[in-house]
């Protein structure tokens, strides 16, 4: 059973252990027609493009769709999808906003609910799932640790993390070219287009996106040890809430510390902040990044269509400032 998801907090480890085949959904860009009918103008472009892809049959083979309670747009997207024909096979994973033991336990409980939802559909036994999950979490930590080291050492630039369907790990290490190092913070849409554009300008780009590295990397203060949790759900919960790289939803202090640490280790010269219009998390984070980071920031906004020509002009002006 193919299980589609897009949020970086949905664990492919769990999908696999429950007998599903994880499919990381990457909606393709086209003129949004169907999505506009459901959502108003000042609304998340990703949700519109996602809905358009779904309704026009891009993911026909994906039987089950998983969502998370992250932003307002994503919960409305889930509600809309679940009200459509076939919507009963979608699931909303309740994702706590905070960190700490209360949140870990709550999230572990929600992950269990997701596991049962999946088991009901795949027919796999709970016992088999539990033993697979334990193994999945262990090996996931080992891979993540290695990837974090490689990334921080500057050996995983460009689009290497992108498009790894089903959450399978990217190949590493990579041979690295030279170029002006920049940090790219982006969301779900047009990431490949922008990385392509940056690389065309001989930039060594290190991406922080939900399609790529943000799903894999661990935080700096992570002990890299699997805690002696008896419950694999609790381990999984902590892996995602406590150790995985945080996303713009926060908590902002942890998120800012992560960005500061990564930009310092990678020795980047500036930040490209590539954000969807009407995305509250990005809009707030952009302000904090501008206020708190001592690096030049180029902000590029997008809506439901890519605008390469405009991005290129802005990028060239930014590069002139960086390399006078």
């Amino acid at each position: 059973m193919k299980v589609g998801y897009f949020c970086g907090y949905l664990p492919p480890e769990l999908i696999r252990s429950a007998g599903g085949e994880p499919v990381l959904l990457e909606p393709e860009g086209k003129r949004v027609k169907l999505g506009e009918k459901y959502f108003p103008t000042p609304f998340c472009p990703f949700s519109k493009v996602f809905l358009d892809n779904l309704l026009s049959g891009s993911w026909e083979k994906v039987g089950t769709l998983l969502f998370t309670r992250s932003c307002d747009a994503s919960r409305r997207l889930y509600e809309t999808v679940s009200s459509l024909p076939g919507g009963e096979s979608s699931f909303l994973l309740d994702l706590p906003h905070e960190v700490g033991p209360l949140a870990w336990n709550y999230f572990a409980h929600q992950l269990k609910k997701l596991a049962h939802f999946l088991l009901d559909r795949t027919g796999k036994s709970e016992k088999a799932m539990l033993s697979d999950l334990e193994q999945e979490v262990k090996s996931s930590l080992i891979i993540r640790r290695k990837l974090t080291e490689e990334y921080q050492a500057g050996r995983l630039p460009g689009a290497v993390f992108l498009g790894k369907e089903g959450g399978s790990p990217p190949d590493f290490p990579r041979v690295v070219r030279g170029g002006l190092p920049l940090f790219l913070i982006a969301s779900h849409l047009w990431v490949r287009d922008l990385i392509g554009l940056l690389e065309k300008k001989s930039i060594l780009v290190f991406e922080d996106t939900p399609l790529g590295s943000r799903r894999w990397l661990l935080r700096e203060n992570t002990t890299f040890l699997l805690p002696p949790e008896e419950d694999p759900f609790l381990s999984l919960s902590r892996l995602y809430l406590e150790w995985k790289a945080p996303c713009p939803r926060g908590p902002w202090r942890e998120r800012l510390a992560f960005i500061q640490e990564m930009t310092r280790k990678l020795g980047v010269r500036g930040v490209v902040y590539f954000y969807p219009k009407f995305c509250d998390f990005s809009l707030y984070e952009l302000k904090i990044v501008r206020d708190e980071l001592s690096l030049p920031v180029l902000s590029l906004e997008y809506d439901t269509l890519p605008n390469l020509a405009q991005w290129e002009t802005r990028l060239e002006a930014f590069l002139e400032v960086l390399t006078p």
Partner: protein, 412 residues
């Protein structure tokens, strides 16, 4: 006013707002007002309470806590702290026609114009140091996740702690426990770090009494001939529904409102249900509604948690109160709640003011429209912004209100 003069005036007011002793003087003014109005009417009560709140917030004798609309004020009053609701205060700033300057100030400091204007304006007022300085911040993310970004930015601007009460979206019993634990650990934290002691009994009893009076008001408003005029006026009373719940101020306000409402002349206007909030700057919408024989029978933001708060289980009962906001925020629940209100208040049409930066409510419009259409209930949407006048579109509002009135007349 010229930009320079405005900036100097702001600097001067901000300077004054930090002089605590100045606000002590307001105590004398308050005393004089109370003498002058021994039995104040509703407007006088509101004025007195505003002066009193300004004094408490700027004098800073007790911890000042900024919070979000769906965080129960009873928690704050029970800890002898002073709550400040920036979203409510933004409405007041807009009503005073003073929103432009703080909105511009926030924009100049990278606060995007696409964010909710309640938040933008509060950030502007914070950057200008005009709102009272918080000691710490407590918010829930129940109504919108934008609130989290907003409060995180406030914490960054004011350099104060921020405590988030995370509210799930489903699974009532697990959620109740999760919220209740969070409230309990917050209370412990505040006791240890701020020396705050919570006394629930009196505040909860006052809140429960107020809720009973509000219920009477609701029952009265269910009668077909009772309309609270002018249309949308009840939304000006939101501070009493939220900020002052658990205090004598709310109780006496609603007691007076109930008495006044019982004496109103019967009305034969078309009855509407009002969703979301309204533009708070002076605008002709209430007048156009009235002219077109349209009255507001009930507002969804006036829906109150029907349960009692209990000092035997303070955290669980507060958690249940917070979870009641699912009626507004969880799509399926909101739609069935709206349909229920339509029935109970015998309304003929539903109006929603679409706030520009509000993703949570606008993201629900499609299923809401469909549900109302299915029941053949006319649905009027007014697009614009409730705080930022730059997004107002009077002509569109006027035309749509007239169209609704004509449709309802035709249905008579």
């Amino acid at each position: 006013m010229k930009e320079k003069t405005q900036q100097n005036l702001v600097k001067f007011i901000s300077f004054l707002s930090r002089r605590k002793s100045l606000f002590t003087l307001l105590g004398g003014y308050e005393w004089w007002l109370k003498k002058k109005w021994p039995s104040p009417d509703l407007a006088q009560t509101s004025y007195l309470l505003t002066i009193h709140s300004i004094r408490e917030l700027y004098q800073r004798k007790k911890p000042v806590v900024w919070t979000s609309l769906f965080f129960p004020s009873e928690f704050i009053w029970a800890g002898s702290m002073v709550p400040f609701y920036p979203e409510i205060a933004s409405g007041l700033v807009a009503a005073l026609r003073w929103s432009d300057f703080p909105l511009r100030s926030s924009f100049q400091k990278w606060v995007s114009a696409d964010l909710c204007s309640y938040h933008r304006l509060s950030l502007g007022m914070s950057l200008l140091k005009l709102f009272p300085r918080p000691d710490f911040l407590i918010a829930t993310n129940t109504i919108c996740q934008g609130t989290v970004g907003f409060f995180q930015t406030l914490a960054q601007l004011w350099r104060v702690p921020f405590y988030l009460i995370d509210v799930p979206f489903a699974d009532f019993s697990a959620s109740e426990k999760y919220i209740s634990y969070q409230l309990e650990s917050l209370a412990q934290n505040l006791s240890q770090e701020w020396g705050i002691r919570f006394r629930w009994e009196q505040v909860f009893s006052c809140s429960n009494q107020t809720r009973a009076v509000i219920k009477d008001i609701e029952n009265l408003r269910k009668q077909k001939t009772i309309i609270l005029a002018p249309p949308t006026k009840n939304l000006d009373y939101l501070p009493y529904y939220y900020q002052f719940m658990g205090t004598r101020a709310s109780l006496s306000f609603f007691t007076q409102l109930l008495a006044q409402l019982s004496l109103t002349e019967p009305s034969s206007c078309h009855r509407l249900l009002w969703l979301h909030l309204k533009p708070f700057y002076p605008n002709p919408v209430p007048e156009w509604l009235e002219k077109n024989n349209l009255g507001v029978a009930f507002e969804e933001f006036a829906s109150l948690y029907p349960g009692e708060l209990s000092s035997r289980e303070p955290f669980s009962s507060l958690a249940r109160k917070i979870l009641y906001s699912w009626q507004l925020t969880v799509g399926r629940k909101r739609i069935s709640h709206v349909l229920q209100l339509v029935q109970e208040f015998e309304v003929q049409g539903v109006v929603q003011f679409n706030q520009w930066g509000c993703r949570q409510s606008q993201g629900m419009n499609f299923p809401l429209r469909q549900a109302l259409r299915k029941q053949e209930i006319p649905f009027l949407e007014l697009d614009g912004d409730q705080i930022d006048q730059n997004h107002r579109s009077d002509e569109q509002w006027k035309t749509r209100i007239q169209a609704l009135a004509e449709m309802l007349e035709g249905n008579r």
